[in-house]
């Protein structure tokens, strides 16, 4: 059996403060079930506030779901414990900042220790990551002094240190220049081909279309459509992913109104 990650009926309820001291409960994620298998890139698409980030946070066990479960299967072993699941995940988002007062090398050494790696093993791993992401020139500089692109590469190196089987990236290319995003996309492709599980969210439709094996469209915390890019295009009769997305969202909104 291939490695896989499965979420069942995930719900996350937030209590929102509205005007006049009234509180309302909002389901940011409202009963999502999702399964990703090894060698597959699954893209989560959705407008702002659709629940992408909350979903990915629950999948990576940063956030406890109000209800529902997440489990992973690695080498035919089922894992449900949050701490154990975290061992197999490399999670990256715009909110996972790095310790500015550390150098990238120090950061990686600390992380390696947390993941229980021996020092010699860690040093070898750091050397190889450094080469893959070509960080030689800045690996010993303090992170607060790095440029945006360099920081992003340092962030990716953080996700690589423990050789995870699962990557969960929340808008990894947001705000990056073409070269930097290309490097990240290249990285994801390579990891997929190496049999990793990749789950990622983005706003960029074209990027999702040519990168993802499967797309999941979210709206108001629910999956409104799911499938390969070709299948979605066929279903809506649109040619570009952008139009597919708009059509599906509008269709959903109309359905809700009736």
């Amino acid at each position: 059996m291939k490695n896989s990650m499965t979420a069942q009926q995930l719900v996350k309820t937030f209590t929102k403060n509205e005007k006049k001291n009234k509180k309302t409960d909002i389901n940011a994620v409202d009963g999502i079930s999702l399964s990703v298998t090894a060698g597959e890139i699954v893209g989560i698409l959705g407008a702002n506030g659709a629940g992408k980030t909350t979903l990915l946070r629950m999948m990576s066990k940063l956030m406890k779901p109000t209800s529902g479960t997440v489990q992973i299967k690695i080498n035919d072993t089922e894992i449900t414990d949050a701490i154990e699941i975290k061992r197999h995940i490399g999670y990256l988002s715009n909110n996972t900042k790095l310790y500015g007062r550390f150098s990238t090398r120090e950061l990686l050494q600390m992380l390696a220790a947390v993941y229980g790696m021996e020092k010699s093993q860690a040093d070898r791993k750091i050397a190889s990551i450094c080469q893959i992401l070509s960080m030689e020139e800045f690996i010993d500089n303090r992170i607060e002094k790095l440029s945006t692109g360099q920081t992003q590469r340092a962030s990716i190196s953080r996700c690589l240190i423990h050789d995870p089987q699962i990557y969960i990236f929340d808008e990894p290319t947001l705000g990056l220049d073409i070269l930097s995003s290309a490097a990240i996309i290249e990285f994801m492709k390579k990891e997929r081909d190496a049999g990793k599980i990749i789950l990622y969210s983005t706003h960029y439709m074209e990027e999702a279309e040519f990168l993802c094996d499967r797309l999941v469209l979210l709206n108001h915390g629910k999956i409104i459509s799911e499938g390969t890019p070709d299948k979605l295009k066929e279903e809506t009769g649109e040619k570009s992913m952008r139009d597919v997305f708009s059509r599906l969202v509008i269709r959903e909104e109309m359905a809700n109104e009736h």
Binding site: N21, S60, L62, M63, K97, V114
Partner: protein, 697 residues
């Protein structure tokens, strides 16, 4: 919890904090450079001021109807400032000590000035003297401005001159009568000799400043790392990164706590070394000028050892306290705001250590901050009582552990991180947002317990000292009102929270048996504790019997009725019911009983009060109502009141004996246990019947 993981995380936290310039400055630069600089600077400034004061010429106006006798005397004094005349004066003086001093005075004749007060005000003169004969002797008034340092100094000089002047006059009169002036004016000779060893003197100097400085420096030392590792980490966005790692919440918080405590300890030791250095320097300065015994530093070893333990225990406490405060903050700035009140509280309570005559009693030993100050102060003057040392250290560690457990409970990184953050306390929520009904949440209950106990310790003991019995009533009102405020503010169900439910007659009968049983057992327990700690027990009895002095009905009301209502409502009502809603009934009973025992703040009474608390909880649980427990509490306390007010009538019965015989103990314990079993059996039966009835309905 994995210690290896905590070590790794601690290493990371330490590295992170040490690369923060603010912390390093707080920790190193201030103690190592600033303190000595301030100290030596202050020393030089004060030396400069005092030498300027000595060199200054003070202008004094004299207007006295004494044929210029004083005027001439002052002129003589002025001329005595020159070295040649000094010996002359000292010979003519009875007391030759004052002759060492010289004053620069300018005596202004009265005619030159019209308005003395105005001249004094605008600094033309530093003081003026008026004098008129009254009852056959001269009465002088010395006018000066206490708000002006120069005028104050001038007054001091004048007073000294007057003293000498008076002596001279006496001597002259005695000489005129042909008596031996020296024998009459100095019939005995005396000299002061300080028997305090030089270690004791140094200790008392250190004891006056060191404890407070230590407390403040520990607070300052932990403040920045506490903010940096909690609010700072959240503000910089690295907390979410930490959460992607396979570590538990508790590992995270404990590693942060240990880091903060470690930095606090390092900064405290930097402070101690720096202050110790200054003190030693100061001592050496005195040492070189005067001839005192050589210092035996080894005598300070116990003080140093206990001091180090105290710093360790206190740094745990203060780190936990600062982290409790800063963890709620979303940013550095917010955390800074939160920490200011904490700082004030710490400084004010630390100040208690400065009040003379405040002794380190066992109760005081449990008072936060003040106990550490007093302990170090006592150790430095070699008042060493290892029992008290143990209480102080243990209470600090206990409070710290409590704070950390509390913190790791409420520090749910998820809610703190993802903005879902409620404070965790309904007390801090807007009232309109709260839902009606139910019992209070444990976080609120803990906060109220802490607040109430602190209030009772400080305000309650004040009231008790000042108003005696009426003050005890005040304490009870605190116990009643603070929790009641919580219940009302958070819109909880009063009936459910306090257990205000009807109970049948059999519940009261069962309760009666329980009350008698627990009273008998308590006599046995108390006699054991008295045998174990005779001195503390005598202390307790003393304060108790002092209170009992008064009208019987009033005493009964304050000591028996008020606690039966107020203490029951807090402990068996709010605390027990809130705990029962969350934990198993047995856990809730034990916890409530222990808190009830601790609240009485007496080691001697702890077993008895805890047992009392437990049995009262049991009654509430079995009867589903608080009323039987209130009755039981009243009976128990009423017994005590009767025994201590009319003890002589029970003399030599098992109730009122100095020492219990084995047969007495067996009798009391046997009877007590039988009563408890009967009571328990009745309550069990009632409970079953009630349950059946409820089913039928």
């Amino acid at each position: 919890m994995n210690t290896k993981m905590i070590k790794i995380l601690m290493k990371k936290e330490l590295l992170d904090v040490f690369r923060d310039k603010k912390t390093v400055i707080m920790m190193l630069v201030i103690p190592v450079i600033l303190y000595p600089a301030i100290f030596i600077g202050a020393l030089q400034v004060s030396a400069a001021i005092s030498s300027r004061m000595d060199e200054r010429t003070y202008k004094i106006a004299v207007c006295a109807e004494d044929d210029n006798a004083l005027y001439h005397r002052l002129l003589l004094e002025k001329s005595s400032a020159s070295p040649e005349n000094m010996t002359d004066v000292s010979e003519s003086n009875v007391d030759d000590e004052t002759a060492d001093e010289s004053y620069n005075l300018e005596i202004i004749n009265a005619e030159k000035i019209t308005d003395y007060a105005a001249a004094l005000e605008n600094g033309e003169i530093d003081a003026y003297i008026t004098g008129a004969p009254n009852d056959g002797k001269m009465c002088y008034d010395i006018y000066y401005l206490s708000s002006e340092a120069n005028s104050e100094h001038a007054k001091g000089i004048i007073l000294k001159i007057f003293e000498e002047y008076a002596k001279e006059l006496t001597k002259d009169k005695l000489d005129a009568l042909g008596l031996d002036a020296h024998a009459i004016l100095a019939p005995v000779s005396f000299e002061e000799k300080d028997t305090a060893s030089s270690e004791q003197s140094l200790g008392s100097i250190l004891g006056a400043i060191l404890p407070f400085m230590l407390v403040i420096s520990l607070l300052m030392g932990t403040m920045y790392p506490a903010i940096d590792t909690t609010a700072g980490e959240r503000e910089r966005g690295t907390l979410e990164t930490m959460l992607t790692l396979p570590i538990t919440n508790r590992e995270l918080i404990v590693s942060k706590f240990l880091t903060v405590a470690a930095i606090g300890i390092i900064s405290a030791f930097m402070n101690i070394l720096s202050m110790g250095g200054i003190a030693f320097y100061m001592y050496k300065l005195v040492d070189m000028q005067t001839d005192v015994q050589a210092l035996d530093v080894t005598k300070f070893l116990p003080a140093i050892f206990v001091g180090i333990l105290a710093v360790l225990a206190f740094s745990l406490l203060i780190s936990a306290a600062t982290m409790c405060v800063t963890s709620f903050a979303k940013s550095y700035k917010e955390a800074n705001n939160y920490i200011t009140p904490l700082m004030l509280v710490v400084m004010l309570t630390g100040y208690i250590g400065f009040i003379p005559d405040v002794e380190l009693t066992p109760t005081m030993a449990m008072m936060l901050v003040a106990n550490i100050c007093l302990l170090i102060k006592n150790m430095l003057v070699f008042k060493i009582d290892y029992m008290t040392v143990a209480i102080v250290l243990l209470s600090n560690i206990a409070y710290a552990v409590f704070a950390i457990l509390f913190l790791s409970r409420i520090y749910d990184s998820e809610s703190i991180l993802f903005g879902d953050a409620k404070s965790g306390f309904q007390l801090f929520e807007r009232r309109s947002n709260l839902k009606k009904g139910g019992v209070p949440a444990m976080s609120d209950v803990w906060l109220v317990i802490a607040l109430t106990i602190v209030l009772v310790i400080y305000a309650g003991s004040m009231l008790q000292l000042k108003f005696g019995l009426a003050g005890v009533l005040g304490t009870q009102l605190i116990l009643l009102s603070v929790p009641l405020f919580l219940v009302i503010y958070t819109k909880k169900d009063i009936v459910q929270t306090y257990g205000f439910k009807k109970a049948g007659a059999s519940s009261y009968i069962g309760g009666l048996f329980l009350a008698v049983g627990m009273f008998l057992l308590n006599i046995v327990l108390s006699s054991w504790m008295v045998a174990l700690f005779p001195e503390s027990a005598a202390n307790v009895t003393d304060t108790f019997s002092e209170l009992m002095d008064g009208n019987f009905l009033f005493v009964l009301f304050v000591i028996a009725a008020a606690p039966a209502i107020c203490e029951e409502m807090l402990f068996r009502g709010l605390i027990f019911h809130s705990m029962k809603a969350r934990y198993r009934a047995s856990t809730a009973m034990v916890c409530t009983a222990v808190i009830f025992g601790i609240y009485h703040m007496s080691l001697v009474k702890l077993p008895a009060t805890s047992l009392l608390g437990f049995i009262l909880c049991y009654a509430v649980w079995m009867t589903d109502s608080i009323y039987p427990a209130m009755m039981m509490h009243f009976i128990n306390n009423a017994f005590s009141v009767i025994l201590s007010m009319y003890g002589d009538k029970f003399a030599n019965t098992v109730f009122y004996k100095d020492e219990l015989m084995l047969s007495d103990i067996l009798l009391l314990a046997g009877a007590g246990l039988i009563c408890l079993s009967i009571g328990s059996a009745i309550l069990t039966k009632t409970r079953k019947e009630n349950a059946l009835e409820r089913k039928r309905k």
